[in-house]
């Protein structure tokens, strides 16, 4: 040993390339989490301490379940890569603020253990864990998961008033009634933009979500391919088929800004693992999400369709990836 050290230093011999970009999985996950902060703040502002409680519980239990699973299976503990944190955060943002404590815990268990780890862990899951978590809760606890409360800024009211979401009103009572409730169209849009409306904790403030999305675009963590085609398709369908006075009388803006469209299109459908990797495939994926969302909203039994739309398209991601192979440099273009 000594001799070797004196003779010459031993160098690391490994395969090229020898340098790497400083991007890492962890940095991406934490950045996406950070980009959700504005929406979280708005959610906390409108829905109060209960919202913060639900969010915190989701995050803590998600990270805990991830830790537990990895520990039991004696795998590397990778909780600081931020992926379980992000899943917990997204799950929490997809819950109504009024849920009792066991809902976040059960949802996190389903998201982390069933959807992610049992499928092989990060990178191997087919479905978006947070969305499966939510779908599971919606199916198992339909009442609790649709107990919407009136947003009450500045934490004034202790007992929140139960109400319906704009999409719920639209479905049950129609467009005219919705406008009536909010006064006029402009007022409705402004409520939707700021987030002053009933809905899940993190989905209501379109402005805050757009701010976060802008950050992700700037960092190139997401590209236009999924969100724009998603929202564009939904808007088009809403405009053409969404109205009650014939074709082309719908209100696309209402559909874009309400429900989970903003949160879903920018932050959930863009999840790398569960969406196609090829840009061309992503366009198809986005169109599919938009189409299915509107199909459910307009024709389905639920007022909201973003979650199921994304989950259904998740199934097709591997297939889409197989269908859209990249164009090899120099390959002869097919006529």
């Amino acid at each position: 040993m000594d001799k070797e050290n004196n003779h010459s230093k031993s160098f690391i011999v490994s395969v090229s390339p020898h340098i790497r970009s400083d991007e890492s999985t962890g940095r991406i996950m934490w950045s996406v989490s950070a980009s959700l902060l504005p929406a979280v703040i708005m959610g906390a502002y409108y829905f109060g301490p209960r919202a913060i409680f639900a969010l915190a519980l989701c995050i803590v239990s998600s990270v805990f379940f991830e830790f537990l699973y990895l520990k039991i299976l004696k795998k590397d503990i990778t909780i600081n890569d931020g992926s379980a944190f992000l899943t917990g955060l997204l799950l929490g943002m997809n819950l109504p603020a009024s849920v009792p404590f066991y809902i976040p815990v059960a949802g996190s268990f389903f998201a982390i253990i069933i959807t992610k780890q049992l499928f092989g862990g990060l990178g191997y899951n087919i479905f978006n864990p947070a969305l499966i978590g939510r779908a599971f809760l919606l199916v198992s606890f339909p009442k609790l998961m649709t107990a919407w409360t009136e947003p009450s800024p500045a934490f004034i009211k202790i007992d929140a008033i139960t109400t319906a979401t704009p999409l719920g009103i639209l479905k049950e009572e129609g467009y005219t009634k919705l406008i009536e409730i909010f006064g006029d169209k402009a007022n409705l849009y402004s409520h939707l933009l700021y987030g002053n409306r009933a809905g899940c904790i993190g989905e209501t403030s379109a402005i805050a979500l757009l701010l976060g999305a802008a950050f992700l675009f700037y960092r190139r963590y997401i590209t236009w391919h999924i969100p724009l085609t998603f929202i564009g398709t939904a808007a088009l369908i809403a405009w053409i088929f969404g109205g009650n006075s014939g074709l082309f009388s719908g209100d696309p803006l209402l559909h874009i800004l309400s429900g989970g469209m903003m949160l879903g299109a920018f932050f959930m459908a863009t999840d790398y693992v569960t969406s196609p990797s090829m840009k061309s495939g992503q366009v198809l994926f986005g169109i599919g999400c938009g189409f299915l969302t509107m199909l459910i909203r307009l024709k389905g039994g639920y007022p909201e369709g973003v979650m199921f739309a994304i989950l259904i398209m998740n199934c097709f991601s591997p297939l889409i990836d197989r269908g859209f192979k990249s164009k090899i440099f120099g390959a002869v273009k097919k006529k």
Partner: protein, 437 residues
């Protein structure tokens, strides 16, 4: 012309500032040189010297043994002290001639022939062949082969590759600044041999001084159509196929050669060597080597005799810093990490890059693919490196083949960008050894 781009690629920090302003200087004469008889792609040479034989500088020591082969010459005058087997950078054993330097620098016949442009293409080719010139960018393909395209493949364009897109390396850059006319003359010779009237020199736009220098040299040489192209700086701009695409807009089909799209590419260093061979009859016995990186005390551009041990160069550059952990023959993107500094500089050694803990990545702890698609966007060949790496990781090599495994030229872009730090190139190489093309 005027496309100047290719798809994909990456922007690593080029780190050229470490050595870009260092003039090319000759190394102190090495006491002995170890000259491998296979420094090129193709058949190894047959030794034509015996132990204890006195030889002169530039004397033939290894004879080419086929069409795709290149003779090897002694870079010093002195005595052959042994003929040994040493590993090359790829770990293959290569017969090598060890020559003890007598420091007399006695040349074999060198003759200045200022009228070299009057030589016939065949005479020129003979000189280039005898000089043992190979692609000096690192590919080490015998130059003569590229200059002898088969009849059915006419050539209409010659490109001199001055991109030098690997981070740290500045040898070609210095050559372009210090010897622009020689490079232009080299290009003219190549154009004459191939009977081509379109010549291009492609340089990345992060090297404005080199572009200027060559533009000036072109103005001075009249009556010939040579264009200096400023290319967008992006790795791997210097890869032949990307360079051809950027300059001519032509795409070399998978598994085909540049000559299939009527183009021949030579590196700037090779053009200089061709000029020296044709004008003076000088064989390829020295080359410019950049010694750089955060782990070396004094980065330099050195004119090095082939066969000089790498340790000699390191010493000349003030030695390694304490924190040096990796020594690479070539640049950090495609170079080979070497285990021992005893290895000699060969015709393909474009640089020695010494890295510290800070620059390197430990790849033992990589994460699963998160399908982010970054590698797909970065791959200049339009492959899906993620699929290649996943298939190879699972041992499903046939699957990798379906994803065009063999079109990968191991540029490393995919691996560079992967946020999960997956050793994609490594997995691709593994797969390549497991299935037949």
């Amino acid at each position: 012309m005027g496309f100047l781009v290719f798809k994909g690629g990456i922007h690593p920090a080029d780190k050229k500032e470490l050595s870009a302003d260092k003039k090319i200087t000759e190394t102190i004469k090495p006491p002995k040189v170890i000259i491998p008889l296979s420094q090129h792609i193709g058949a190894p040479c047959k030794p034509v010297v015996t132990i204890n034989q006195e030889i002169k500088k530039g004397e033939l020591i290894g004879e080419a043994t086929g069409f795709v082969s290149a003779p090897v010459h002694s870079s010093v005058s002195g005595k052959v002290i042994s003929i040994i087997e040493i590993p090359n950078i790829m770990g293959r054993m290569v017969t090598s001639v060890v020559v003890e330097n007598d420091f007399k620098d006695e040349w074999t016949l060198l003759k200045d022939n200022p009228d070299y442009m009057k030589l016939s293409p065949d005479e020129i080719k003979e000189k280039i062949k005898n000089a043992g010139i190979v692609g000096m960018g690192g590919a080490t393909f015998p130059a003569i082969v590229k200059l002898s395209p088969p009849k059915e493949k006419p050539i209409d364009t010659v490109i001199i590759n001055g991109s030098e897109c690997e981070p740290y390396l500045t040898g070609d850059y210095r050559l372009m600044i210090e010897k622009p006319s020689e490079i232009i003359e080299g290009l003219k010779i190549i154009m004459k041999v191939l009977g081509v009237s379109n010549g291009f020199i492609g340089i990345e736009d992060n090297k404005p001084l080199a572009i200027e220098s060559l533009k000036k040299a072109v103005i001075n040489s009249e009556g010939i159509n040579i264009k200096v192209c400023s290319l967008r700086t992006r790795y791997p701009q210097g890869a032949e196929k990307m360079l051809i695409k950027a300059i001519t807009g032509r795409e070399v089909p998978p598994r085909a050669l540049p000559m299939d799209v009527k183009v021949v590419v030579h590196n700037a260093g090779t053009a200089n060597a061709i000029y020296e061979a044709v004008r003076f009859g000088k064989p390829l016995i020295d080359r410019v080597v950049t010694v750089s990186g955060e782990g070396i005390r004094e980065p330099k551009n050195l004119l090095v005799k082939i066969g000089t041990p790498i340790s000699h160069l390191i010493e000349e550059c003030g030695g390694l810093k304490e924190n040096a952990v990796k020594v690479i023959s070539g640049g950090p993107m495609m170079g080979f990490a070497i285990a021992s500094l005893d290895m000699p500089v060969t015709k393909g050694t474009s640089g020695i890059t010494v890295l510290t803990e800070k620059e390197i990545v430990h790849t033992e702890k990589f994460r699963p693919c998160i399908k982010c698609g970054r590698c797909i966007d970065a791959c200049p060949m339009g492959l899906m490196p993620s699929m290649l790496s996943v298939y190879s990781e699972r041992g499903f090599f046939e699957g990798a083949k379906e994803y065009n495994l063999f079109d990968c030229f191991e540029c490393g872009c995919c691996t560079y960008v992967c946020p999960s730090k997956r050793p994609i190139v490594h997995l691709i190489r593994l797969a390549k050894t497991q299935v037949k093309p």
